[in-house]
Each structure stands twice: as structure tokens, then as C-alpha cells.
Symmetry: C2
Subunit: 472 residues, 2 copies
């Protein structure tokens, strides 16, 4: 209420100026006024997700929230990520024989989808725990193989994300926070284990990776010294990569860093040339370094009481799971959606498995689908249009806590990538984070069938808001 | 004039619809009408460059022009460009001892600017024709060294563009048109010969390039077979490079093509590693392949009677020269402008030489400054803003004959690069082609002082229009 005396105060300006109409909700009123040459400021407004009103009000009123989110974001942006070593998973993670890691939140063999089952069968054969796919399947169904999410070991794995003890992993360090993360070596596209294929050629490639690729990369990295992965990610978003489904420039920059020391490592020339051709021939090779770099950043933001920022988004092909800073390691899960995208060859939507992989950790740190505007050329690979890509990133700023100046998007006049997805903002606006993804065939053994766009189920975010409200 | 009967014809729709105002010239009238809620279509219109009206009218009315430009553009777009060999200039061009090539239109020692003089002094020392810079200068001033533009031999050279017999050149072939072009190997930035530096370290680097770099690249290219340079240019414009002052992705992709065969060439490991480090450390290395690829394309468009398309834009540091398809090898020259840009260290505008180099051949084919929209990150290197970059490419479509679908700009929804600069359109609109450029120090021996933006002098285009009018 405005008293008469206040007209001499700052509010008096309100009456001195031309009246201005603010319109929200249906656009009809604004359109009519515009046609009559009135100045209208349209405001995009929607009610929050139904059923969350009370919990959301409680979370948004939490006096800790603003400072907690600022601290979590600051930690996320300040983290570092250097490639320091390449080692077998058994050695890196102390992964015991008979234990396999997988992508996403926890899942059992019974609930596992086709591509995860296919990758587990392949890993069982690779480790020599079974002689045939049928034997492998029986062993896995018997429950005597232990399954554990990569995230529970501080690691990440794209698509099925299956890691067995003999597979080699990149080791990344965040010295600022004294933290380590790991990720497998990328096998390429098409018929590969992480998409659920396990035919002899898939296993032969994995054996070559353990015998030649891993050791040569290890020798080159140790000889060269740490490679600043975060700096390469910074550059790649200036070169049309969004770091999830486009990693062309990143892969080339990694190759540039490694090649001289690969050459000087003393390894046989034929092996060095084969390694270079393998890495060169796979535009996604660098994804498996972007992912652990993102994991280090989001892990640094984890565990801040009262923070509503997302620290993990991961899918196991059955469930989508998220973790939130203020609730620590708790998973909030819901059934994963089926991606919408472009298909390889004669594959179509009927062949697609629901969303799978830890690679949405790239979106969790603000790149990938959140930074689609940095990678307009990607629409030729995942579908959509260039204006959609620009619009999507614009929308992502509405659900994030801030911007990452290290990941500056040139076409947005070097605006930092939208970073720190806030579950409260997601539930308040109804806007879900955009994810770019590969699409696995739903039948075990198929491999990749396409690439596209997908969103997490809203239920993960509403569950997180309810849990946060309960802890206020 | 409209007769009463025509009201039943297609023009009757004009009266059936709401009236619409088309405004051109001063924006004041359009603004007033818009404020009154009238629908206004503003049209940007300017008179042609003063003094060209009659000649321009004649050229634009030339019945050959439309078909001639279509043919020239078609030939430009259909050309191919493959790297097929690396050889010394003496062998490649039959360059005689005592003959040096240089960038831009013909120029004498007397009229040569500082950086061109510096590069010529360096080449004289490199070839052993003089023992000291003073001796070299005296020899050059005596007129006993023959100077010739690179373009007269079908070659191109960035900045000073000085080529002497012992320097190694990339050899590119356009098999579709049975044509060859050549360019020197890129030395890197800073204190380098092409920017006019000639100190002992500059000459040592050139000697290493002739002794190690050239032969190793030759062996790798011959072993591998032709490299499709045009395909790499296609990819680089999707990765934030405009191919003139940003060649990061292009250099990395070239490296990817060459490294396996460099490794398998049998050359000493230390030399291979040094070559890889040298190429990796110079984001502009690929420029010297973009340039001859562009030369092959524009040469294919040359010599079409009646065509008003530009086939060469080149600068020698004193004059800017252009050639036009319909007038063949005739140069139209005018004093070169001084670029506007960002300076290295403590250098400033007072240190800048006028525009120099054959590298504007990249703009002649539609990339470089014409495709600034493809490379928003470049504004951090050459100055300007991202919206300027987008606006510039938009404007370039007004002075070009068509678009190159092979060079698709993702952010413009994959619109092809504006290609085939039309001198008639330049003179008609007053819009000059935008060029991105390195800036050489004006004092011989300085080297690079910055990078920026520059435009050709309008006088080159008006002279071309007058010459075309005379031949109609």
C-alpha cells in the first residue's frame, strides 16, 4: 500500500512516466495491446510442477540455500582436471575379480536393459569367467557377479559403462581438491561393448586396447607429464564441440598433446602408428576424458548442506538417477526416457533402448546439451535445428545457478556455459535439463543405433525437492 | 502504369490487402510510422560510388554478365584441391637463382614497404647471395635480383610472400581442372621472414625447414597419397575456423592425416617428434594449404568473358591489387590500407605496415573475413565483436554471386559461405569485402605486431568496373 506522502519518494517516478503493461500467461492480451501500439513487457510464467508447491516453498525459503548454492558452484568452477596416468581398472580401483562396474544408479541383472546385459556378457567373456555368451548369461543371472555403479567408486562410464578389472582407465586428478576420477578408454562407435555388443570382433578390440593402447597411452602420459583436460575442454567449446556428442576438436587436441611422447616412447613404430590411427579415427575418443573431468568438478560441489544443485545425472538403461549436493550420495530415480534422434542405417525408434550412461555428467557440469549453442553443427548428428540449439542454451540459464567463464560460448558473446542445475529452479519452471546422447539398441548385442536428444524424468527432481524439504 | 482492366488480374490483390509502406533512405519516416502502429518495410538503399554511374550501368546491362558469373561461380565451386607433394621452389616452379617471388601485385625494391624489404633481405642471406643485411640491401637496390609476384607463377604467399629457390613449397592439384598451385611452409608467428624479420634465428628456422621439415612432409605425403584439402576446409568452418586468421582445427586435422605416415616414414624418431611439435605449436600452419586451395578455385573461375567476379585479391604492403574474371590477368591496384586490430605486447597502430600478403585469396573464395560468422571466437585475436562478425557475413551476401554449399556455416543454419565477390555489386552498394589479416611491423626486420581487420581500397573495384565497361 502506497501512502500519499510516498509520492515525493522514489515511487513517485512510477506516476511521472508513461504507463507500461506487463503481461503474463496467455499471449493474446499482449498481442492485442501491441497491435494498438502500446508498450508491453511479456513475462513467461508457469505454475510450478503440481504437488510440489509446499515442499518447493520450503526449499526456496531455506535461508541456507543461496550461500550453499554459491559455495557449491564456486567449488565446481574452481576444480581442476589433469590426465595423470592410464592404468588397468584392477589396479586403479582395486576392482576385485568378479566385480563389474556399470553406468547409472544401482541396478540388478533382472532389471537391466538389453545393452547393459550385452556389455556385462561381453565383460564376463573378456575376463574369462565364461566361455560362451550363454554361460556368461547364466553366471550373471546366478547373482555371483557383483554389480556396482561407477559413481560409487568415483568413476564414470559412457553408455552401459561396464568396467571389468582388466580394462584400462584414464586417471584424472583434481589437485586443488585432492580428488581422483577414472574413465574407460573409448572404443569408437557402432558395434562396441558400451552399446551392448559382445561379438568376437568387439572382444578382440578390447584385448588390443588392454595389450597395446592402454600401455602406450600410459607410457606417453607418464613421459609427458599431466595434461590439462579442463584447458582442452575450454578450447573445444570454442571449436564447435559441446563435449558430449561432439568431441572432434577435443580429440584432435588430445592427440596433439600425446603424439610427440608416443613417438619418443620407444614403442614399436607399427604400434605407435596403429594407436594414432585408432585415436584419430574416433571423434569421440576425448569424451572419456571430458566425463571424469566433469565428475571431478561436480564431486567438488557435492555435500554442501542446503545446496539444491545437481551433482550427478546418470542412467543405467532402466532408471535415470540424480544426486544433489545437499543430500549427498542419495539417488533420486525414475524410469529413463527413450531418446528422440537420428538413426543409423535401417534402425528406427522401435530399436531404441531407454536412455543409458554416465555421460550426462557433462550436462551436470554445464556442457553437453546445456551448451548446445556452442555446437550448432551437432544438429546434423543428433537432430533438431540450429535455432533450437540456441534457444535451448538460452533456456538452460533459467535452471542453473551461474555461468562458467572457463567454458565461454563464443556465439553468445562469450557468455559462460550455464552451470549448476538447481533442482528447485527445475521444479519451479518445469524446464528440464537438455541432454545429448548416443542411442543403444534395446536388444543385447546390437550396439549403437543412433544419437539424439533426451531429458531426465521430472520425477527425479520432484523427489529431490521433497527430500530437501524434509531436511530444511 | 496500371490500367483499369488489370484490376481483375494478379495485381488486384494489391488493392484487396492492407496498404503497406516501403521506406528507403533516412530512417526517420519509418520510425514515425512504426510508432503509429503502421506496418513498414524498411529498405536499405544507397546510391552507387560517385563517378561510376555510367560505367556501372553499362556493366550491369551487359547481356553476358548473368551467365558469365554463373559459369565462373560454378567453376569456382566445382574445383578440387589435394595436397600431392612437398618440393623445393627451384624444382617446383623452375625458380631461377636470383629470382624471388613476393605477395601482391608487381612492385619494385624502391616502392617496397619495410616488411617486404626485410623478407627480401632475409631470402638474399638464406640463398647465400650476400653475407650481411647491408650487402643484401645493396644487391637488392642494384636491381640485379628479379622480383615477381607469386600469382604470376600460380603460387601464393602469406604476408611478404617471399619465395626463394631453396624454400620448400606445398604442391596442390585440382585434377578436375588440371591445374596446380603452390605455397610456402608456414614458419609460425612473431619474428618470422614473412612478417619481414631476418635475424639469425629466423634464417636458422628456415634452414631447418628446408633440411628436415620439407623432406619429412614430402615423404609422408608421398607415402600416404593425396590429402583432400577442400574436405578439411569444409570441416574447419564447422569448427570455428574462418581459414584466414583462425586455422586451429584445420591444422589439427592436417596433423591427423600426416602423423601415421610421418611415423612410418623411417625418418629418425627425434626428427619426426620435432616436426610434429613444430606443426602442433603453430595454429596457422594450415593457412598455407587453405591459400593454394583457394587459388585453385579462383583460378578456375578466371577468364570468363563478361564475368564481373573477383579472382584475385592480393597486397604487397604498398599496393592492393585485384583481378577480375572478365579481364583476365589485368591488375587493378590502389594504395593498401592500414589494418585496424589488436596489437602484440607494446606495439601499437604507429608500428603497423599497410596491408600485405596473398592470403586475401581466402576471402576471394568466400571464407576468411567473408565467413567471420563461422569463427566468432576470432574476435579475441583480431578485435571486433561477435554481433559484428555475424552482421559482416550477412552483408557479404549482398556483394557475392552465390553461396558455397561445401563451406556451410552452422550458425547461419548451414548457409553456404558467400562466394564470388562481384565488382559490380561492390560498386553498386559501396560495401567492400571484409578481410581478416595479420599486421606486419612497418620497419624491416620487426616481424608481426598484431592482427586485425582491413578492407580493400574502393579504387580497385571502380577501376575494374571502368575496364569491364570498356570491354562490353
Amino acid at each position: 500500500m502506497m501512502s500519499a506522502t510516498s509520492l515525493t519518494g522514489p515511487l513517485s517516478a512510477l506516476l511521472a512516466a508513461e504507463p507500461r503493461v506487463v503481461a503474463c500467461g496467455a499471449g493474446l492480451f499482449a498481442d492485442e495491446l501491441t497491435a494498438q501500439a502500446a508498450s508491453v513487457l511479456p513475462v513467461d510464467w508457469r505454475p510450478p510442477v503440481a504437488g510440489t508447491e509446499t515442499a518447493l516453498a520450503r526449499v526456496m525459503a531455506d535461508p541456507r540455500r543461496a550461500a550453499a548454492n554459491a559455495l557449491a558452484l564456486e567449488r565446481m568452477l574452481a576444480s581442476t582436471a589433469e590426465l595423470v596416468d592410464v592404468v588397468p581398472a584392477g589396479e586403479a580401483l582395486g576392482l576385485e575379480p568378479g566385480t563389474f562396474l556399470h553406468a547409472g544408479p544401482p541396478v540388478t541383472w533382472e532389471r537391466a536393459s538389453g545393452p547393459l546385459r550385452g556389455a556385462l556378457i561381453g565383460a564376463t567373456l573378456l575376463e574369462g569367467l565364461a566361455a560362451t555368451p550363454e554361460e556368461a548369461q547364466a553366471l550373471l543371472a546366478s547373482g555371483s557377479v557383483r554389480l556396482e555403479p561407477c559413481h560409487h567408486r568415483g568413476a564414470v562410464g559412457p553408455m552401459a559403462g561396464v568396467v571389468s578389472p582388466s580394462m584400462w582407465l584414464f586417471t584424472l586428478r583434481d589437485e586443488a581438491n585432492d580428488r581422483t576420477s577414472w574413465c574407460s578408454l573409448n572404443e569408437g562407435l557402432g558395434r562396441v561393448l558400451r552399446y551392448g555388443a559382445y561379438s568376437p570382433d568387439v572382444l578382440d578390440r578390447l584385448r588390443w586396447m588392454s595389450r597395446v593402447l592402454g600401455p602406450l597411452l600410459r607410457d606417453a602420459v607418464r613421459r609427458r607429464g599431466p595434461i590439462d583436460v579442463r584447458a582442452i575442454v575450454s578450447q573445444m567449446v570454442q571449436m564447435g564441440d559441446e563435449g558430449h556428442n561432439r568431441n572432434r576438436a577435443g580429440t584432435l587436441m588430445l592427440l596433439r598433446e600425446l603424439v610427440p611422447d608416443l613417438i619418443e616412447s620407444g614403442a614399436p613404430t607399427a604400434d605407435v602408428a596403429e594407436v594414432v590411427r585408432f585415436v584419430s579415427g574416433n571423434d569421440h575418443f576425448f569424451l572419456n576424458l571430458v566425463m571424469p573431468a566433469a565428475k571431478l568438478a561436480t564431486a567438488a560441489a557435492s555435500g554442501v548442506p542446503g545446496s539444491t544443485l545437481v551433482t550427478v545425472m546418470a542412467r543405467n538403461g532402466t532408471d535415470f538417477g540424480i544426486q544433489v549436493s545437499g543430500t549427498g550420495d542419495t539417488w533420486f530415480t525414475a524410469p529413463a526416457e527413450v531418446p528422440d534422434g537420428l538413426y543409423l542405417g535401417s534402425y528406427g525408434p522401435q530399436d531404441a533402448n531407454p536412455d543409458i550412461g554416465d555421460s550426462a555428467i557433462t550436462e551436470t557440469v554445464g556442457i553437453g546439451g546445456l551448451s548446445l549453442a556452442a555446437a550448432p553443427a551437432i544438429v546434423r548428428f543428433i537432430g533438431g535445428t540450429v535455432p533450437d540449439a540456441l534457444r535451448t542454451t538460452g533456456e538452460m540459464y533459467e535452471i542453473t545457478a551461474g555461468e562458467n567463464p572457463a567454458y565461454a560460448i563464443p556465439i553468445l558473446d562469450f557468455r559462460g556455459a550455464p552451470s549448476g542445475i538447481d533442482v528447485a529452479k527445475v521444479v519451479r519452471t518445469g524446464i528440464l535439463p537438455q541432454i545429448t546422447t548416443g542411442i543403444a539398441g534395446r536388444v543385447a548385442g546390437t550396439g549403437q543405433v543412433g544419437a539424439g536428444l533426451v531429458k531426465p524424468p521430472m520425477a527425479c527432481f520432484t523427489a529431490a525437492v521433497h527430500a530437501l524439504a524434509a531436511s530444511c
